[in-house]
Every structure is written in structure tokens, then in C-alpha cells.
């Protein structure tokens, strides 16, 4: 990916963060966690486009993209998904996965 394209991707990502920050002032409390994990998914996508591909990152992204919508329908399921996500990182940190 060219630097120009990478800059455009990061511009969109930074705008996403800024608008999300503003909107989180009034939006439902759980939309904050939603934006954070969705941001993680978007960042993984940018890294992939920039040539930084990683199996673990990709698994995390797939899990986020699959489960993030539960925030709209099932609060407990969404929180469980966030818990699972933190465990994934912890296991990776310990070298279990």
C-alpha cells in the first residue's frame, strides 16, 4: 500500500475515533465499548492493507465483526464477548495460543 493510501486509511480511522468520542457523550453507555472494539477491528484491517498480517489479529477481527452487533440485541451476550476477547489477549500473552 502506498503512503498516500495509508494516510487516507488512517485519516478515516482517526475521524472514526474523534466522531465516536464526541458521540459517546450522549450515546448509550455500551456504545463506548462497541466503538473501541470496532476501532480495533478497523485498525487490524488497516494493518493488513499495510502488509502487517497476523493470524491472531485476524482471528480477533473475525470475532469482533461476528459478535459486535450483539450490543443491539443482547447486552449480556455482548459483555460475554468482551470478556472472551480479553481472555484471548491474555492467553496470547501467556503464549497459550
Amino acid at each position: 500500500m502506498e503512503i498516500k493510501e495509508l494516510k487516507e486509511e488512517f485519516f478515516a480511522f482517526l475521524a472514526f475515533l474523534a466522531i465516536s468520542a464526541r458521540n459517546c457523550v450522549e450515546e448509550p453507555k455500551l456504545y463506548g465499548p462497541l466503538r473501541l472494539v470496532d476501532g480495533a477491528s478497523r485498525l487490524i484491517e488497516i494493518l493488513k492493507k499495510g502488509g502487517i498480517e497476523d493470524h491472531f489479529f485476524q482471528e480477533i477481527k473475525e470475532k469482533i465483526d461476528q459478535k459486535k452487533y450483539t450490543v443491539m440485541g443482547d447486552r449480556n451476550q455482548f459483555i460475554q464477548f468482551l470478556d472472551d476477547l480479553t481472555k484471548d489477549f491474555s492467553k496470547k500473552l501467556k503464549g497459550e495460543e
Binding site: 466522531i19 458521540n23 466503538r35 452487533y69 443482547d74
Partner: protein
């Protein structure tokens, strides 16, 4: 399609096929919008239709609530001057929101009837969108309805039961 079938069948669709939407279908959806009821018949709405991919992508940059590229968007706005001049403060501050909500539901039901998925999105930067699209001060964007042929169709979240939310008075 039966009305009730459309009401129950509509889902918020967040992943769309790339296929563009026919202009006549978009017009029919918008027509459904303008037939919504409104307080004092003020019709305080304005609809901005975006079906250009480049502009849709720009709007997505400032709309964290849109996760995937839709084929089109309807930006549902309130005309605050019109609402105030015809219905006063109550119209401007409260009723116009109800009016555009009813128009939005009409449009999403009509879209469903046409086989088009929709998702109402409020998670966007209101000020940012006004600047991007050069909206005048009195035009207030309230909702983006993302549209497209459904790529995925998720099951309906549970509804609260009738006996939990309905209270009958009378016989």
C-alpha cells in the same frame, strides 16, 4: 405483501450487496416517506439521497454507526424553520422529531417490501455531516437510513410481550 408481514419481517440490515438500487425504487421509498402523518400537516422533513459511492464512503468516515458500504443512503432531516413557523416551539423541539420518525418507518417498510434492506443510524457526527454536505443552519440531519440489498439477514431480537407493554382500559 401484507402490511403486517412487512412490519414483522423488516430487520436492521448492516451488510449489503454491492448492487446499486434502481432509481424508481428509491423514489417509491421516498414517496412512502412523504405520506407519513405529521403534526398540523407540517411535513417538516427534507430527504437527501446519496447513491454515489465516493460520497457514501466520505459520509461513512464520519458515521461510526455504519459498518459496511451501503448502496445508498437517505439522510432524514428536520427543517427547523418550517417546523417552528407552522407548529411553534413544540413543533420544532418535539413533534417534528416524531414526524420524521414516522416518515422513516414508512420508508424502511417500503424498502423491505421492495426487497431492500435498511438500517436507521443515528451514530454520525451531526456537525461534521452538516459541513460535509453544506447544509444550511436550519436543516438538521437526524437519521441516516442506509439502504442496500441484504448480504446477511440476522434473526429478530426478542420483542417485549404484549402483556408487558399494553394496558387495556374499558371492556
Amino acid at each position: 405483501m401484507e402490511t403486517f408481514e412487512a412490519i414483522k419481517g423488516r430487520r436492521s440490515i448492516r451488510k449489503y450487496k454491492k448492487e446499486k438500487l434502481p432509481r424508481q425504487d428509491l423514489e417509491k421509498i421516498l414517496e412512502a416517506g412523504i405520506w407519513a402523518p405529521s403534526g398540523s400537516n407540517a411535513q417538516p422533513w427534507q430527504f437527501f439521497v446519496i447513491d454515489n459511492n465516493e460520497l457514501i464512503k466520505k459520509i461513512m468516515v464520519i458515521a461510526p454507526g455504519i459498518f459496511n458500504l451501503p448502496a445508498a443512503m437517505i439522510i432524514v432531516c428536520r427543517d427547523m424553520e418550517r417546523a417552528f413557523s407552522l407548529v411553534g416551539e413544540l413543533g420544532r423541539d418535539v413533534i417534528s422529531l416524531m414526524d420524521i420518525s414516522m416518515a422513516s418507518q414508512n420508508m424502511m417498510i417500503e424498502a423491505y417490501d421492495l426487497g431492500i434492506g435498511s438500517c436507521p443510524v443515528r451514530s454520525f457526527g451531526i456537525s461534521a455531516l452538516k459541513i460535509l454536505l453544506n447544509f444550511p443552519e436550519h436543516i438538521s440531519p437526524e437519521l441516516i437510513i442506509a439502504l442496500g440489498y441484504p448480504e446477511e439477514f440476522l434473526p429478530a431480537p426478542e420483542r417485549r410481550k404484549l402483556d408487558e407493554v399494553v394496558f387495556w382500559y374499558g371492556n
